[in-house]
């Protein structure tokens, strides 16, 4: 070997060795080493006044919790987002009139008490709701929170120059008045039953925004669409204050020393944006994160092995099949209730939940499961393929040509079954196809990207253009409120109403009357009885066939303590969260 060859060989070896060493070495930068970083900002107890301490007290370690967040925030202005990955954080950095606890019961936040007819904050005609504000509430910069902030928030929602995410239910209001600094009076033209989960409250509701910061922006620019506060809300009213957000990488929220309910126990929340599910699992298992969410059911055993505690947050979502009932465009076979019921009997959903979802949830009977609005006598259709065959035969569907698929008048029963390309949904399609085939129902499986699937009728979205016979997804109303538009006749998408949300195309007079009735039933018991009727009726008619109750899965590292979860407001007690030292 020549001198040159040897040189080349050694250079190559050196490079490979340095890469390997780089990959395996450098322990000085490991997380253990970084734990010995500078002292925390958390205040420590002052020394006793009588004698000077011989040694300075050891600085308390900064309590930082890392949350692995699979989707980055779009904006942090509550008026401009309906994204779950932001609305879930409302209890962190902004404030609402009230939150909902782990029983989904309202707990006052900005108000002194929850309005009711009994305490006089709901008028006798149930049209006017009065919010009485606490007198100690302040923004993180010390500015008092007053009714003017509520009025400003309302004005910004209704300003035509602001392209806010939703105006519900503020565009239904007759007026919003502020007779004094501590009183907000809202009047609806009719009694409005869903007010509790949407009036300056609720996960999809609105949190107030600071008038003293954003009014000058609106005055100068005519809009707050592009206000700096939207991505840099350094003045907030939650237990934590926004500190920093680096696009695509991370966001930090630090303890709010001015929080009127007391400083939170943690010093900092660090959100790391990791879009890949497998990477999130690896990060949680490796201890690079304390909290993760939205992982697949199949990942749970690995997480539990790594001592990650799994908490289910039932937020009103129930996965199910919406049956295309459009009078002209729907499959004629599905107009027969016996065929729809046969679908429910034919699909072994209990086995699906046990095998595919590892028994971590339950079969959904109604679209309102895990809420107080379901008739307690309701149970899901059991798996009974013989009953399914019998129902099909009663409806005139039998396999006359022996090809395994039932037919009637020369037409074979093959249903177009579509959903998004979420893994568990595609797996469900495959399992359902087998079960339905066993009773002679053929299926044509289709799956789409979610933005394409949920495109409107105007955009020819598959979930809205009535091209599918079975449409699978999960939806929730303004949980914990049960009001929903998806069964309303006026919401059926048409050329005149191309953005309607009734994607099943169903217009059932009985159901329509019940939904109209509940809208104005402010009394809980009365409304509950109406929903008992609604849920029973939808079940009996098999307009919606439940697959599984679809909770949000959260994983917490074993150092996390005092965590509670609410289906309506997952992080409602984040000020109480703590870590073991």
């Amino acid at each position: 070997m020549s001198k040159y060859h040897r040189l080349l060989t050694w250079v190559s070896i050196l490079i490979i060795a340095s890469m390997l060493l780089a990959a395996c070495g450098a322990p000085q930068a490991t997380p253990e080493a970084t734990e010995a970083e500078p002292p925390a900002a958390q205040p420590t107890e002052p020394p006793a006044a009588t004698e000077a301490p011989t040694e300075p007290p050891a600085p308390a370690e900064k309590k930082v919790v890392t949350l692995i967040w699979t989707q980055e925030f779009d904006t942090l202005n509550p008026l401009y987002t309906q994204m779950w990955f932001v609305t879930a954080l409302f209890p962190v950095y902004v404030c609402q009139a009230w939150w909902f606890d782990d029983q989904n019961s309202p707990i006052p936040n900005l108000v002194t008490e929850i309005p009711s007819v009994e305490n006089g904050n709901i008028s006798e005609d149930q049209r006017t709701i009065t919010l009485k504000l606490r007198d100690d509430i302040v923004w993180s910069d010390g500015t008092p929170i007053t009714s003017a902030d509520f009025k400003f928030t309302y004005d910004m929602l209704m300003a035509d120059s602001n392209a806010v995410a939703s105006r519900s239910p503020y565009d239904l209001m007759e007026s919003l008045e502020t007779p004094d600094e501590r009183t907000v009076v809202v009047t609806f033209p009719e009694p409005y039953a869903p007010w509790l989960s949407s009036l300056f409250s609720g996960s999809s509701g609105i949190s107030i925004i600071p008038a003293h910061i954003l009014q000058p922006v609106f005055d100068a620019e005519g809009t707050i669409d592009t206000a700096e506060w939207n991505t840099d809300p350094t003045v907030g009213c939650g237990p934590f204050v926004f500190e920093e957000w680096e696009s695509g990488s991370f966001a930090r929220f630090v303890a709010n020393d001015n929080f009127w309910l007391g400083r939170p126990k943690l010093d900092e929340l660090f959100f790391r944006f990791v879009p890949d599910d497998a990477s999130m699992i690896a990060a949680l298992v490796a201890g690079d994160g304390d909290v993760g969410t939205f992982f697949a059911y199949s990942d749970v055993p690995q997480l539990e092995e790594a001592r990650i505690t799994i908490l289910n947050s039932f937020s009103g979502f129930n996965e199910g099949w919406y049956i295309n009932m459009h009078p002209e465009k729907g499959n004629p076979a599905l107009k027969d209730v016996k065929v729809r019921q046969a679908l429910a009997y034919a699909f072994n959903r209990e086995k699906l939940v046990q095998d595919l979802l590892l028994g971590l949830t339950e079969v959904a009977a109604t679209d309102y499961d895990r809420s107080p609005w379901v008739d307690p006598t309701i149970t899901p259709y059991p798996y009974d393929p013989d009953k399914a065959k019998a129902l099909l035969a009663e409806a005139g569907w039998t396999d006359t040509n022996g090809d395994g698929t039932v037919d009637k008048d020369g037409i074979e029963l093959v249903l177009k079954y579509g959903t998004t390309n979420r893994e568990v949904r595609q797996d469900t399609q495959a399992v359902a196809q087998q079960d339905l085939a066993a009773v002679g129902i053929g299926t044509d499986l289709q799956s789409y990207d979610s933005d394409l699937f949920f495109s409107s009728y105007a955009e020819d979205g598959p979930s809205a253009n009535f091209s599918l016979d079975i449409i699978e997804y999960s939806d929730a109303p303004n949980f914990p409120d049960p009001d929903s538009s998806v069964w309303r006749c006026s919401e059926i998408p048409t050329d005149d109403n191309p953005v309607g949300v009734n994607t099943s195309g169903l217009c059932d007079e009985t159901l329509e009357a019940l939904f109209v009735q509940q809208e104005s039933q402010v009394d809980f018991k009365e409304r509950q009885q109406t929903f008992y009727e609604i849920t029973r009726y939808i079940l009996d008619q098999a307009y919606w066939i439940g697959l599984w109750q679809d909770p949000d899965l959260f994983g917490f590292s074993d150092r996390m303590i005092d965590v509670k979860m609410s289906g309506a407001i997952p992080f409602f007690n984040i000020a109480e969260w703590d870590v073991t030292q």
């Binding site: 939703s166 790391r272 933005d451």
Partner: protein, 343 residues
């Protein structure tokens, strides 16, 4: 040469117009941006109609394209939905340097892209440097030791890496070096992100967090490039001018690096020049898996929400870069090969 470059740049203008129009029309069929604005719920009808009007999504595609290109400050829009267009538009259009506002976060497109570009360049330029350096060393070494045991081992290894999917390599590396090394009590690498929150965003932390993503990005390309360099080097080493150089008694490094490599590098320059513009686009899979805040993830996030303004910004930036780097490649060609002259 200057006239040649100017002519190429002028030719690029109509090409960019055509590209932008085609991409814009394609983007309109990528999905409905309003579909996902309701979060986990279906967007309310009233909100859909209002948002379409306020964001200009109710206009025909060609009108939207014209607004994107030349702005709408010469037209009036109907913001309140009363059927009367009374509010002057505020967009200036791409031709006047206004790339629009993101539908997702209502931030200017230039700001949205600018925030990610540096992260992508840091990752991709590092990876490209590693790729070129390692591929040159391996390719040349392999060519000089053709059919030896070492060459065969290198060949087998490069084929294994070349045929390995990126996501598989990335997750494999993450589980070995980050998850399992930690479990086994060995020094370990971080799983995701650019730094540890407790340590802060220091250069050391960023470099430490770059190891796995850079390795993932590099290995497949090193394998491919090194095979290419090996074959072009073998071809060059068999040429008469190399034999002549050897016969003249030139030192071996001069024969290999000056005479053989310079000629062998002509096709490699083309490949690298074609790759360089895509460095700006980031690496979708790698960035996603390692949580690296780059352009690839930005592109994916905004495509999935049909955010035309941001997606168009990224695609047009890449289109311009492709044209510019092609011109640079042609110029470099002329420098490397005296036989080529542009007029």
């Amino acid at each position: 040469m200057t006239r040649y470059i100017l002519r190429r740049l002028l030719q690029a203008i109509p090409l960019l117009f055509i590209i932008s129009l085609v991409l814009f029309i394609l983007m309109q069929n990528m999905g409905d941006p309003l579909a996902t604005m309701g979060g986990r719920k279906v967007t309310r009808t009233e909100d859909r109609i209002r948002l379409a009007r306020q964001l200009g999504l109710d206009k025909p595609i060609l009108v939207q394209y014209i607004y994107w290109l030349v702005g709408n400050d010469w037209a009036k829009t109907d913001l309140d939905g009363d059927g009367v267009a009374e509010t002057p538009g505020s967009r200036k259009g791409v031709l006047r340097g206004d790339w629009g506002i993101s539908l997702v976060n209502r931030q200017p497109v230039t700001k949205v892209i600018g925030e990610r570009l540096s992260n992508t360049l840091l990752l991709m330029v590092t990876a490209e440097a590693v790729i070129i350096l390692a591929a040159l060393l391996i390719g040349i070494y392999s060519a000089l030791h053709q059919y030896t045991a070492k060459d065969n081992i290198i060949t087998a290894t490069t084929f294994i890496f070349y045929s390995m999917p990126v996501f598989f390599f990335a997750l494999l590396a993450m589980y070995i070096f980050a998850v399992n090394f930690k479990k086994w009590g060995l020094p370990y690498l971080p799983t995701v992100g650019m730094f540890e929150p407790a340590a802060g965003q220091t250069p050391v932390q960023v470099a430490w967090h770059m190891i796995l993503p850079v390795a993932t990005l590099s290995f497949g390309f090193i394998a491919g490039y090194s095979r290419y360099i090996r074959s072009t080097m073998l071809e060059a080493l068999g040429q008469d001018y190399v034999r002549t150089a050897k016969a003249k008694g030139l030192p071996r490094p001069e024969v290999v690096y000056i005479h053989a490599l310079k000629n062998a590098s002509l096709p490699i320059v083309t490949i690298i020049a074609l790759d360089l513009p895509f460095l700006l686009g980031g690496a979708i899979v790698t960035e996603r898996i390692f949580g690296w805040p780059g352009m690839g993830r930005l592109f994916l996030d905004h495509v999935s929400r049909s955010d035309t303004a941001v997606v168009m910004g990224i695609l047009m930036m890449i289109a311009v870069a492709v044209i510019v780097f092609q011109i640079i490649a042609d110029v470099t060609y002329a420098w490397l090969d005296p036989r080529i002259r542009y007029k």
